[in-house]
């Protein structure tokens, strides 16, 4: 691997670490992190493929309240390096390695989030003296710590020789690797279950089963399914008495005029911006 690739991979790791806490640009999501590592190492196809596969597993990994999800950042960059870099693991092996890495990343972010309490006390000091600039800097120091949380472990993996990584993996018996391979095929169910648990209520279950039945039997691709889902949602909102009775008084005699005025309102609001 060239020096440029290695520097790029380290920068990507730092970005992924930052986004792992910020959750804004989403560079820590496997589909972006693995793809970027793939581009940096000149192995784009494997990066995209690994990213897509890991993204399916990580669909339901979300930080809610004070609860911390498994860490997609460390899992994505390290496994992408092992797949796209000189170790040349298969995508399946990359997926199997990603899971323990996600837990390691989770432990590391909990550690950093605890250290940052100290920074916040320093920021209290800055507030006491009215020093806004210092407060800004302390805040961003926390961000640097989160970036290093991924960059340092990634650097350690870069130092390990590809032969050592491959040797360690060769020592694993076939039953384990094939078994992991099989499990990798259905592990996504956990992610689906997390997402479903978050959204589900008794009113929404029929939509899940409509989607399931259509998908199991028909050959419609995902874009067509997306269009259908969107239309179902819009039709439901138009028909549901819950949204029509109170919000639009004259909507009953002429639904077209109701829609028109809603659009006009939206236009006006957009112009205000």
């Amino acid at each position: 691997m060239s020096a440029i690739s290695i520097i790029l991979v380290l920068i990507i790791s730092f970005l992924a670490g930052i986004e792992g806490i910020l959750d804004e640009w989403e560079f820590h999501q496997p589909i972006l992190a693995c793809t970027m590592v793939g581009i940096a190492t000149g192995n784009i196809a494997s990066g995209v493929l690994l990213g897509g596969s890991l993204q399916m597993i990580a669909l339901g990994w979300m930080n809610i309240g004070a609860a911390i999800a498994p860490d997609a950042a460390l899992a994505s960059v390290v496994s992408a390096w092992l797949v796209c870099g000189p170790s040349h693991l298969s995508v399946k092996e990359g997926i199997a390695i990603a899971i323990p890495l996600a837990i390691a990343g989770q432990v590391l972010t909990i550690f950093v989030r605890t250290i940052v309490v100290g920074l916040v006390h320093a920021a209290d000091g800055a507030a006491d003296t009215g020093n806004l600039h210092k407060l800004d800097l302390i805040h961003l120091t926390g961000l640097v710590l989160q970036g290093l949380r991924i960059m340092i472990p990634m650097g350690l993996v870069l130092l390990a020789s590809p032969q050592a990584v491959q040797g360690a993996l060769k020592a694993i018996p076939d039953v384990i690797t094939n078994g992991l391979n099989v499990a990798g095929g259905f592990i996504v169910a956990v992610g689906y279950a997390m997402v479903i648990n978050m959204m589900a209520n008794s009113e929404l279950w029929p939509w899940f089963f409509i989607g399931f039945a259509m998908s199991a039997i028909t050959e419609l691709n995902l874009i067509a399914m997306g269009i259908l889902g969107l239309c179902f949602a819009l039709i439901y909102l138009q028909l549901s008495p819950r949204f029509n009775g109170s919000s639009n008084g004259n909507g009953n005699d002429n639904s077209d005029s109701g829609n028109l005025s809603a659009e006009d309102e939206l236009d006006r609001e957009l112009e205000d911006l």
Binding site: M62, T114, G185, I187, A189, V195, F208, S240, F243
Partner: protein
């Protein structure tokens, strides 16, 4: 304070467009110092920093404003923009002499952060990201190159940035009335529509992208030199393709509702996969 009011009559303190843009940009760094003690408190103070600088030239006022925003705060990051907008309106009025005390400002922050997180977490993390992620991942795995990642990046960030800017300005304009104005139908409609789409897509994904293959041979029929082999998988497929993934998904839902940690379920499934392969129940799907 009396002097301030006097001075403000001639020269009213007002946040500029530049302040608004700067606060919008800083909102993208809200969680940088997320901590277990007060969570997003320093993040909120950091976002307010340009406004505090503009509105409170007096050192004492500035110190009290900074302290005010170091209190506990936590919500879905993108929903914070609406709260910031409202707080900006309140701070601006306060700086111009209005009688708004610390507890009123903190009351609005605390009062809004809970309900908005209640709406924001399911919409952003529970629906938008899984749907956009699954869609792009599908493209990525079907070999369409960089298209999947690019669609993911653009869709997410255009949605996120426009939402943040729009709600920040809405909050600022509506002042303290924002909770009511958001409560009036629109947000509820959006939540309902997004949830329907989300649940539908989840139903679509379960049979498509969960790979389970049962190679156990149930029967071998010899007819005229040809051998027809029926595996357990064939029987499942005759009932309904995707039946076993559906069952597995419901087992996972049940376990999660029993408060089993997701990471243990994932580990458990790896062990099930290894043992199942060893026993010959699971196989690698032929394709």
């Amino acid at each position: 304070m009396a002097e301030n009011v006097q001075q403000n009559n001639d020269n009213k303190l007002k946040l500029t467009r530049h302040d608004m843009v700067s606060i919008f940009w800083r909102s993208g760094f809200e969680q940088a110092s997320w901590n277990y003690e007060r969570m997003q408190n320093l993040g909120f103070a950091y976002i307010m920093s340009p406004a505090i600088k503009r509105l409170y030239p007096e050192k004492d006022d500035r110190i009290s404003a900074m302290k005010r925003h170091m209190e506990f705060f936590n919500t879905t990051p993108y929903m914070q923009s609406a709260i910031t907008g409202v707080v900006l309106a309140m701070e601006e009025q306060r700086a111009n002499g209005a009688d708004i005390d610390d507890s009123a400002i903190n009351g609005v922050k605390v009062g809004m952060m809970g309900p908005l997180a209640g709406v924001g977490d399911p919409i952003w993390w529970g629906t938008a990201r899984p749907v956009i992620g699954a869609f792009s991942a599908g493209l990525a795995m079907s070999g369409s190159g960089l298209l999947g990642p690019i669609i993911f990046f653009l869709t997410w960030n255009i949605l996120r940035l426009s939402f943040r800017w729009y709600t920040q300005m809405l909050g600022y304009k509506q002042g303290t009335n924002i909770t009511q104005s958001l409560g009036g139908g629109l947000l509820q409609k959006l939540t309902e529509g997004a949830s329907i789409l989300g649940m539908f897509i989840m139903g679509v994904l379960v049979p498509r992208w969960t790979k389970m293959y049962f190679p156990i041979v149930i029967s071998r029929v010899h007819t005229g030199g040809k051998t027809t082999v029926t595996t357990l998988q064939d029987i499942f497929d005759q009932l309904l393709p995707g039946l076993m993934p559906l069952v597995l998904t419901f087992i996972c839902i049940w376990l999660l509702r029993k408060k089993v940690n997701a990471i243990w379920i994932i580990f458990g499934l790896f062990i099930v996969g290894i043992l199942g392969y060893w026993a010959g129940i699971f196989g690698i799907a032929p394709k």
